[in-house]
Symmetry: C2
Subunit: 450 residues, 2 copies
């Protein structure tokens, strides 16, 4: 850590907690070079693998998948980066267990279909590997507990790789929250408003085609993701909205989510899409999709705040993660790129552009790694979430987004399904920290390290 | 009805139901001059009274209030308009009953504190008067039923004077909905996001002063409105957001609201305001306000749709009724003045300005009465809601916003309070139409009459 950096951090307005030097002293690097395995080498796995090849502290001795086409694309990523050819585990759905048992690895990155995140994470921790898993980390309440129990028992961490927590505007707003700009937080909104019809369906040959096939006849995500829309009605994908607001609300670090309700609309969009693009006689028109087109979830927090999440993936609409962060002194609303802070905004009760606030409160991580992040996936945020995963392993410390985050964010899906099944009744949210939230200090993005 | 008007309506894109000629034939004017009494002559009553004086089909023979200051202001309104001096009932809280019993009136307009709307409306209908009541129409489930039962028994109507239903953009969007622009509706949002701290508190001398007094020491609304924030936790004021979306979702006319959940944040804003403007030792700092600063309510409809309402009156923020109207083909969002319609908007997944849509779908009522509405209260919408009230009485027909709307919109408050008391449990919403919603045709703003 150079002195220049230290100054730039400690002079951040009102952010006295960005103390990376003390962090560095108490969390020294224990391993300067890591061995990382990849389970799942589809499009997401390939993207993160490419990021890994940019780092000289990460070796990739082994990969695992069951799809020859995706494996050969992944091998090409490594070859193009001048990396050695890894060992490949590809012998069926359970071969990942052999990889975990046989190979000497510091950790694994998991980017497989949702239903595999939990069993692979648990198996990896039991085999002595740290875990970075794509979202969501698990699909049932029991599996969320299983992640927590396994991590506590094995001493291996399970990081939820929620990249949106590192989005530049999101981190700047977190910075504003910690600076007290909004006062005491009252209400946050987030969600996943993303027209996925072209992801849930394709022609079996390309990921974002115009076809209406899925499952065995689909390609890439449509092979597995779409079936969740057939069989489940709930907020299937809460973490992109919930992760960021959780860091702002100190969830699991002085606050926690206590109960929720979910309410779903009728299901129309996926059926309509099949009729529109496949014709009224296509066999998929007979499918009864359980997923309501828009699912609204409201969460109550122990410290009083509410969180409203929207899940909206079956309809034509512009992309939005629906962020709104509101406190006793003002609020930020992403959809209009606007902010209002009492006593600071020039006109009473009038929005102003958020632009200069985002610049002023730019997070130390982004200031430091702006150049490195450029060109990495999803506007740069993939760089940071991957970096945090690696830095945590190198120091052998809990990651900034840990197993309690993984469990408490992922559990929203099954609880939301349950609430909808019971006419939106209120459902209690488990305390996966078993009370430790009361004394735990925030650790996400508290410095420019991770 | 002139031929020119008829053509302009029937050529409205896709709106084949704007058939005012047949409406006029089957609903002839039965009384060309009305006698209207005013109960409540505070600021709101005075504003609506001024509108009444613009109409030569309305006489105001009698008014009722208990506040001499407000009465004299109201008399000045009438005097300035060249109207005769009315009889004044002012002999205590219950003197309105004498007025209703003694006077020969076609109807009464009620603009009193919330808790008086129900007893005054019921007494008026029992005395043979039609009713136009300010929002909300009642505060308890039983009182909502009482309104319905009394109206059905007496044959007198009880119109809920929800002016926002007539806001120009709202009526244009209703026009879009009926034209099928959004496809089948899925989800609507509305609410009341209005920093009322300067309304709930004042210095006892002027309505929007900087003081921190209320109740007996307050002036105008703070005299009574603020106590609802002391004693109740729920969506206290749902109708500005709910009324408009109800008309779009055909609530009580082919659709109905089935259940809801409500969740409230902690209560901070009112206390903070007192400390800020009255000092930490002001006696009002010891008041424990029950009302959570932000209350989020989610309603499920019989036809599948969801409605999200926000109630947010204690915090610094720009005014917004939070409208969003979303269907299978696209959506409108007020906060960004934007719209997206698949296949029509020029760029896939990109918002465009709503401006030209609002112009193209301008409602026949606004086209016809634009000049008359200008300068009337609240951007013109007061003109229309008052006009509808008067036209309904002249024809002796049910108003476009009737007692079933009054009951089903107003009941959201007590049900929301109940849900919050029970940790956001789901609460059933009564069917005040007793099944008639299944066969009732929409009647709000279906022509350019009312």
């Amino acid at each position: 850590m150079k002195r220049r950096k230290f100054l730039s951090i400690s002079t951040l307005i009102g952010v006295s907690s960005y103390l990376s030097p003390s962090f560095l002293l108490s969390n020294p690097i224990k391993r300067s070079k890591l061995k990382l395995g990849f389970i799942g080498t589809g499009l997401r796995g390939q993207g993160m693998m490419r990021l890994a090849t940019y780092r000289n502290d990460v070796d990739i001795p082994v990969i695992c998948d069951i799809d020859d086409g995706m494996i050969s694309k992944a091998l090409k990523v490594l070859k193009n980066a001048g990396r050695p050819i890894p060992k490949v585990y590809k012998n069926g759905n359970e071969d990942f267990r052999n990889m975990l048992y046989n190979e000497d690895l510091d950790g694994v990155f998991i980017a497989t279909p949702w239903e595999w995140h939990h069993p692979m994470s648990v198996a990896a921790m039991k085999a002595g590997k740290h875990v970075g898993t794509e979202v969501p980390a698990a699909l049932t309440v029991a599996d969320c507990w299983d992640l927590v129990n396994t991590s506590e028992k094995t001493g291996k961490f399970c990081m939820i790789m929620e990249n949106v927590c590192y989005r530049r505007d999101v981190l700047a707003v977190l910075n504003m929250v910690r600076s007290g700009l909004f006062g005491e937080l009252l209400h946050c909104q987030g969600g996943y408003q993303h027209d996925l019809r072209g992801v849930k369906f394709n022609n079996g040959l390309q990921p974002y085609g115009r076809g209406v096939e899925f499952g065995d006849k689909g390609y890439s995500e449509s092979k597995w993701r779409t079936n969740h829309s057939v069989n489940r009605n709930g907020d299937l994908y809460p973490t992109h909205g919930l992760g960021p607001v959780s860091t702002m609300l100190n969830i699991n670090h002085g606050n926690r989510m206590v109960y929720l309700t979910s309410t779903a609309t009728q299901s129309r969009g996926l059926h309509n899409y099949i009729v529109q693009h496949g014709g009224p006689n296509h066999p998929n028109t007979s499918i009864d999709f359980k997923l309501g087109d828009i699912v609204t979830t409201v969460i109550k927090c122990a410290n009083g705040q509410t969180i409203m999440l929207s899940h909206d993936t079956n309809s034509p609409r512009p992309y939005s993660l629906n962020f709104r962060i509101q406190g006793t002194k003002g609020l930020w609303m992403k959809d209009s790129n606007s902010i209002y802070i009492e006593g600071i905004s020039p006109n009473d009760h009038r929005w102003e552009s958020d632009e200069k606030y985002l610049e002023k409160y730019d997070h130390p991580l982004w200031k430091r790694f702006e150049n490195e992040a450029k060109g990495s996936g999803h506007g740069g945020m993939d760089y940071f979430v991957f970096r945090a995963f690696i830095e945590s392993m190198k120091r052998d410390i809990d990651p900034p987004l840990d197993v309690y985050d993984a469990a408490s964010w992922s559990v929203i899906s099954p609880l939301s399904e349950k609430s909808i099944r019971k006419n939106s009744t209120s459902i209690k949210i488990p305390d996966f920290t078993r009370g430790k939230w009361k004394i735990s200090e925030p650790k996400f993005a508290i410095n420019d390290i991770y």
